[in-house]
């Protein structure tokens, strides 16, 4: 049964990807612009760090190549989570505006359907940037480990997005706060992990787990530690499962509104 459900959801995922592709072809100017500008955004930011490291040499032992690793982990994780599971950032809006009704009335697992039914062209720009960095700026010997450690990053992004979005089931007017928390996670993950020490490091690992998206994987690339490697995967899976639990628990409190909207 579970296998059939997984196959069925995968087929639905493929159908959505076909629709998204058709949409991209139809609105190709917007698609190309959005993708290109996010790509350019990443280039500008990486150039900024290049200029800063040019001046400083290193920041607490981390050099510019470490920033490249940070951006590889960050942009590919953002890209996968945002392009293929775009609604993970939109849970709060779906709850507040009564848009969950569409999903609740269909014979598909609610959360899976919600996650895969939207994509973000901006995040495709991130994904392309990350892949190009991986191809041209990273030693090929490190690629398998990097690809493996992107999985927890994706799980954390999606899980955290669902978690903060699910606050809307419990707290009124938490949409803005949830969005701030998510943007903070994204933002912190793009800074060199070497600047965080002590209590701040604890916060960036276990409260706003940006460290597990980028800093910990980069550290593991330098010197592999099995304990931290296992912790990385255990934490990301635990966060993801917690997010699913909180979402479905919150769903029981969901009340639809009278708002009519056209789903395009």
């Amino acid at each position: 049964m579970a296998v059939r459900e997984i196959i069925s959801n995968f087929k639905l995922f493929i159908e959505y990807q076909k629709i998204f592709l058709k949409s991209a072809i139809e609105y190709r100017a917007n698609f190309l612009l959005s993708t290109f500008f996010m790509f350019l955004n990443d280039v500008i930011w990486l150039f900024f760090w290049y200029l800063l490291y040019y001046k400083l040499g290193d920041i607490n032992g981390w050099v510019f190549q470490d920033l490249i690793y940070i951006y590889v982990f960050a942009t590919i994780s953002f890209g996968i989570a945002g392009y293929f599971f775009g609604n993970h950032k939109e849970i709060a809006e779906l709850v507040v505006k009564g848009k969950l009704d569409f999903y609740l009335t269909l014979p598909k697992k609610d959360l899976t359907h919600i996650l895969i039914s939207k994509n973000s062209w901006f995040d495709l720009g991130d994904l392309l940037f990350g892949i190009l960095l991986l191809i041209f700026m990273v030693s090929v010997t490190k690629v398998p480990l990097i690809l493996l450690m992107i999985i927890p990053g994706v799980l954390i992004l999606i899980g955290f997005g669902i978690l903060v979005g699910s606050l809307s089931f419990y707290l009124q007017s938490s949409e803005s706060f949830g969005s701030t928390l998510y943007e903070s996670l994204i933002s912190i993950s793009l800074y060199p992990g070497s600047i965080f020490t002590g209590a701040t490091k604890f916060i960036t690992l276990f409260i706003l787990p940006a460290g597990f998206i980028t800093a910990v994987p980069v550290q593991l690339l330098h010197s592999f530690d099995l304990t931290w490697f296992i912790l990385l995967f255990l934490f990301s899976i635990a966060l993801f499962l917690l997010a699913i639990y909180v979402f479905y628990k919150g769903l029981k409190r969901y009340e639809s509104g009278n708002l009519l909207y056209v789903r395009m």
Binding site: N30, F37, I44, W45, K55, I188, S194, I195, F196
Partner: protein
């Protein structure tokens, strides 16, 4: 003319009152996020100064962090101006505004300016609090404050005028958010919002300090920390020049576009 200005000033005043009504939304949204960025950079500079000392001669650790506070307060105060204009154009909502007895883009600028004053104040307070707790305060002479406020307001206006020109591209590309994204990154980095331009290699520093973006961020922020009347007059005059330049572009660009605008039905 004065009645026209009163009309637009009333719009700003209404938006100030609206912002004050929803002040906690602003604090828990934008302001906390910016305070977090200041916190992150305070960590960064603390670590750098501990191992390398002064990065720029004459700039202490506290000055590096407070520089960011001032820059953030000015630049991020305009909020999502370009996106809002882009949304109006994409949705066709702009058709409602074009029939009203005011200029649409001037109206949006005064709306943004009103909200921007509240954002500016809140970011200074909360961002300043984070900076103070992390690295302590900086010395700012009382006599310089009125002049710094003038330069800060002109910096916000310059940023807004440039954003207005960019927002008009939404008439062609329908989604100017992407352009705004890049413009804002240019201002953050090459406008010197995040770090003083002296951090960059000399050629980059020279080019960036000439561009208009630096008069929205770098020059006002540096003036706040290293004030002199000579620098004030220089920054003031160049800001007026750039604002005038972009207003002229905006007027011609807007007149050209409005003649050609078409709105989709629905």
């Amino acid at each position: 003319m004065s009645s026209q200005l009163n009309k637009y000033l009333s719009i700003s005043f209404i938006n100030i009152k609206e912002s004050l009504t929803y002040i906690w939304d602003i604090i828990f949204g934008k302001v906390i996020f910016i305070a977090l960025i200041i916190f992150v950079f305070a960590n960064l500079w603390t670590v750098v100064f501990a191992s390398k000392g002064e990065v720029i001669p004459g700039f202490t650790l506290a000055m590096m962090v407070w520089y960011l506070v001032f820059g953030e307060a000015i630049i991020t105060s305009i909020g999502r101006f370009v996106k809002e204009v882009g949304d109006d154009i994409k949705s066709g909502e702009i058709a409602n505004y074009l029939t009203k007895p005011y200029n649409y883009i001037v109206y949006k600028m005064f709306v943004s300016f009103g909200k921007g004053l509240i954002n500016f104040t809140l970011i200074l307070i909360f961002g300043g609090l984070v900076a103070y707790l992390m690295v302590g305060g900086v010395e700012i002479s009382l006599i310089s404050i009125p002049f710094l406020l003038i330069v800060a307001l002109l910096a916000m206006l310059l940023n807004l005028v440039i954003a207005s020109v960019i927002s008009l591209f939404a008439f062609w590309i329908e989604d100017a958010s992407s352009l705004n994204y890049i413009y804002s990154k240019f201002t953050f980095i090459f406008g010197g919002m995040i770090v003083p331009l002296e951090v960059y290699p000399p050629l980059v520093e020279k080019i960036a300090s000439f561009l208009p973006f630096s008069y929205s961020a770098y020059h006002p922020s540096k003036l706040a920390l290293i004030f002199s009347f000579e620098s004030f007059f220089k920054v003031f005059l160049v800001q007026i020049a750039w604002i005038s330049f972009f207003i002229i572009i905006l007027i011609f660009f807007y007149k050209y576009i409005i003649k050609k605008v078409s709105v989709n039905g629905g």
